[in-house]
Subunit: 386 residues, 4 copies
């Protein structure tokens, strides 16, 4: 059993980190929602708080008084089990509750949790708290990428922070790693926290393959662009080709060509693209087309997991060729928490690794992230296999 003290510390540290991420923002930045996939920062702050109130304080604190009855409606995301919710595309229309009120809500619930854990300790609420912490960590990544989108789509292109390095460099020599044919074990296998989608640990048969020890860089991708990669239908999926044409895509997200030189919007504002930095903000469609053009392919998530000890990772979420599907003997958790993963297991691709935006202790080698193939606002990247 985990010691309560350390869980509470983990909790407080996590709560603080969400607020640290928002520290550079103006109040106005907390409110807007430029596209449906991006949520307003104040919504993330409220929603992660509501999760602790709804699943821990409400059922486990006697005579608990809700901070505000309407908040369960305003800050529920998709949990059909627990009542009505504001549809995702409307979140940016809500000027109230104010940011100030949301912070009061955070304090109220944080204090409520602290007090509960001073007087009460048991495995059930410890486990719930741990889920709530990981839930908030997951939102921290979205919070950061949503903030980047909110500022990076503003015509004034305001900087976010000089402290956040979104374009780190991999300095080691590029090489292929060879993995032998055989049966491999895949999935979570320790007592540490994991999501239900990482279970059950099971066997897969892998044919021999090679996988790069390094992410594809901006410079390599510029070669693809200059070779007409966005104009050659034969290297794209049919859906990818439609996406390119309907949206007139000709570069990664946040890239702008100015005076014939590529720039990209970064946490520090608009900068020249660094050729040696790992490529990011690309869709699965672009990752696939690049690999086709290069004569290679993307690894499956199983190939990635089996090989991951042989290369450094964590700077970019890496698109894989795998569709997001349940593992053999997958079991969805009961009740509202069971809505976390299973119901998304169709039409999405798996990403592996973690990125510069992933909070510490939030990713691991069995972690399965997933997005629709056209999405680009996460710090996505690309590793080749053959």
């Amino acid at each position: 059993m985990i010691l309560t003290d350390s869980v509470v510390d983990f909790f407080l540290e996590t709560r603080k980190h969400s607020e640290d991420i928002c520290q550079p923002l103006e109040i106005e930045d907390y409110v807007v929602q430029p596209v449906v996939d991006v949520s307003p920062p104040k919504w993330h702050l409220g929603h992660t708080t509501w999760f602790f109130e709804e699943f821990i304080l409400k059922p486990h604190v006697e005579n608990y008084v809700l901070f505000d009855e309407d908040f369960s409606f305003v800050f529920n995301s998709y949990y059909e089990t627990v009542g009505k919710r504001v549809v995702r595309s409307d979140r940016g229309n809500l000027s109230r509750p104010s940011v100030k009120k949301v912070y009061e809500y955070r304090n109220y619930v944080t204090e409520g949790i602290k007090k509960l854990f001073e007087t009460n300790q048991n495995e059930e609420i410890n486990a719930l708290l741990e889920i709530g912490i990981h839930h908030e960590k997951q939102h921290q990544e979205l919070l950061l990428t949503d903030i980047k989108f909110i500022l990076g789509n503003n015509p004034l292109l305001p900087a976010y922070s000089t402290a956040f390095i979104d374009h780190p460099i991999e300095t080691h020599q590029k090489d292929w790693i060879t993995i032998d044919e055989g049966v491999y074990e895949i999935g979570h296998n320790s007592n540490d926290f994991c999501y239900d989608n990482e279970l059950e640990r099971h066997k897969v048969y892998l044919h021999s393959y090679e996988i790069s020890n390094k992410l594809v860089t901006n410079g390599e991708y510029i070669e693809f662009m200059e070779a007409g990669g966005y104009q050659r239908f034969d290297i794209w999926h049919a859906e990818g080709w439609d996406w390119v044409n309907q949206n007139q895509i000709s570069a990664p997200l946040y890239w702008h060509k100015i005076d014939n030189e590529w720039h990209n919007y970064t946490a520090k504002g608009l900068q020249k693209v660094k050729g040696e930095a790992p490529l990011t903000h690309i869709s699965y469609f672009e990752a696939f087309a690049y690999a086709q053009w290069k004569g290679h392919r993307l690894p499956t998530e199983f190939e990635w997991e089996a090989a991951q000890t042989f290369f450094p990772w964590g700077k970019r979420w890496e698109w894989t060729e795998s569709a997001y599907l349940p593992y053999p003997n997958y079991k969805k958790v009961d009740g509202a928490l069971g809505e976390y993963n299973g119901k998304f297991m169709v039409s999405q691709k798996v990403l592996r690794g973690g990125s510069v935006a992933t909070p510490i202790k939030h990713t691991r080698h069995t972690y399965r992230n997933f997005f629709h193939p056209q999405l680009r606002w996460q710090f996505t990247g690309l590793r080749l296999a053959k």
Copy 2:
């Protein structure tokens, strides 16, 4: 020629009034755009300011330094003549410039105008200033109705202000006014300010008609609703009937039935509907259907203007049967200011009168307001004719 002093006073009083309207807002309320027709309050504050900078300070102050070069892009509304603009549906995505910055912009331009008029007086800039003032007054009405929409569509239904009376009552006896057949003169005919669409003053032939001396009330409209008005296709235009069905309209905007009693969102928050108050927030389609059901009709804008001295008006903008079209010998002003009215003269209906949201000195008996027939967020109302 107008005395400069009084114009400058008029200007300063107008500038202050815009800010007074926003005084009850939280910063977050300045930012959002729940539907395409509603603009964020900070955009109104910036746009009305940009108008003075673009059309007066920039051309008439030597070596004028723009407050911010990007603002002409951000705060241009629809003036194609003066460069790029943020499309209307994207205004709610802009967290920057911040509200603080917008107020600094206002002060900068207000001071610039003051200084210019201290040292410089001529008819041309006086006329431009007057247009700018009326432009800002026009936006003050939108500012108020947009704020109402922003708050009235928030699930928390926050109140705006107890000082603003949006549901005044007409206490006089309802009666029909009879107007004789004959030739009438229509259009502006004094030296006071008017828009180009009120000119030229011209003759129209009116057949004899009767017009009500009182606006239709909420109570009268509830009778229509209870008689199945929203279910009877035969009293609606074909387009109106499609609008009712596609949007599932069954009551005026802001009305909610709670415990079998009609409530509406007002400046003071949610309240019971007052039966004796004049109906508002209805579309032209609804106004027409009500009149059909009642066996009457809407007046034309000419009938309204010829009869307006015989009844009080100014509480609701009144839908007329007239389409928004140019008067005989209408002349569009040259240049960007000519984009003000003429280019909207298709597919819209004329409204006459003025409303509780109209700032003082901003309406008159020849004033022609215009909106598309489905719009309801203005303080629209309805007067019968036969």
Copy 3:
């Protein structure tokens, strides 16, 4: 009272004319619906037949046996009074009833009417028959323009008929006609058939104006195009400008530039544009922009009617500046026939005249045609006023 014999002859001649129009078609041409405004020819043939069955045979023939019960559903257009209908956008999905069956239906109903009128004569059914005949004549024009659209949008551009002259020429000298200021009488004033929208005859006051005795030609419009007319926002309505840009309009409908020369699809197939022929297949937006560019304007429908004896007309439906609105003291007919006109009196523009596609005895100087401002598939044209 009209003699029955001549009404029956008029009826039979009208029935035959619809079928003559379809004579050049392949069976496949009867079925498709390339855009929502165009109906499949077999639908027109069935719908005009259904009108006689529904409003004359069913109520006036004892023990009348419907040809097919389902046809009242399939061939009702918009009459909400008489039950369900196939929505307009689905008509092109119906392969059945077959064309053969539709012709059997026509014969069945035509024979039914003949038999009824042999044994029965009264003013009520004579009046209904006359409406039905005019209804079918109105559809004959649509039938012809819909066929043109069906063939003219097929990439094979098949010819329709060499007998139909869709590009006649006006050979007289162009000149301005001057009309004096004063009160004019407008609207239908004989015992002949007319629609309810042409009544009541009433007075309007017209200021003095000039109107061209000739339609604008293709050659004149090419000058506008070559002067950049489609690129100059300042001569378009705001809605017109959006329409141009969203639909990438750069020429009238059916025009194609081949080897740097303008061609247009005609009843005879693709041909070089004749400069001296009157312009056609333009929207109201284009008509307005041309007039603005030329420094003139479109006449109102009243100006057109007051002046029409002084120029030849009937080759093109002419866009006017007037919105489609009820005349003073307009009275909608009771019941289903009352759905004919009144419910469309919003958001449309009036066209006057008649075109090469208008059947004989179907237009007159008080006839009011109406379409939405962006539509172009009718033989629309343009006459200037000032």
Copy 4:
């Protein structure tokens, strides 16, 4: 090497079968396209013919004269390599070429192939002919299901044919088949024809599982419906739940409740639903929700292939849990024929088996069919695993 004679016989028999499928149609039925996924029958007849002309006659017959130059534009489906094409959603707008002309085209090309193979024999063109035959067979299935959709969405619900049995019955006892854990070989492994997506044959590791020897029946599905299956969000994917609500789905495609009894449209017209017949015309979302409700799951395509010798199959295409992805070492064919499969390997689910609409010699135990998860117009079905 395959003997030319038998290939030509196979070719002629295949050509005839397409025409036999269309034999019960009226000319009008060949033309319409009620939804984007359904193509007009004449388009299928032309497109399969174009394939032989484009890939065999044009490159391999000296001085070959095209039947009609425009047909390569009209009948190309999605092959970007070989020029322009009519976009899928516009196929139903084309009344020309006529059905008669399409049959002439078929004869012209069929004769051309016969003549070519009389004088010329080599492996390359034999292989191309075989692909063309299988391509046409694949379209025969679509032809049949598209015809069903065209007639089944017509309000008159005309029958197609009494000879085609679309609701056969599985009479054997329902039972679970147990398959042991281990490594299995998957993919095509003979010299017979197969598509590139069935290769390379490779190993997969399967954990032990059970699979039903029988398809789910209509009767079993009615139990799910009566238990509120379409109202319980917890058994649906999030995307499935949105699909149900946005499209108001409450039964399989073609089902109608009449007088409280379920009917479905069949090849013979509207009939009462047979409880013992295997369920069909369901989406993957519905298949998944049924399995969830039942406490079971769908098999993967590998589980299906490893177990398929133990149960009869071929009546319904069976949805699997597998996403449509390339096998290890998959190699796309070069050139236009390479556009056949690989570019669709994203966002689709694999179906296994074959259906009552699949022509003979066109399916096999390694055949991988694929559709988007919401599609229902194929004869899809459902087999449970656990």
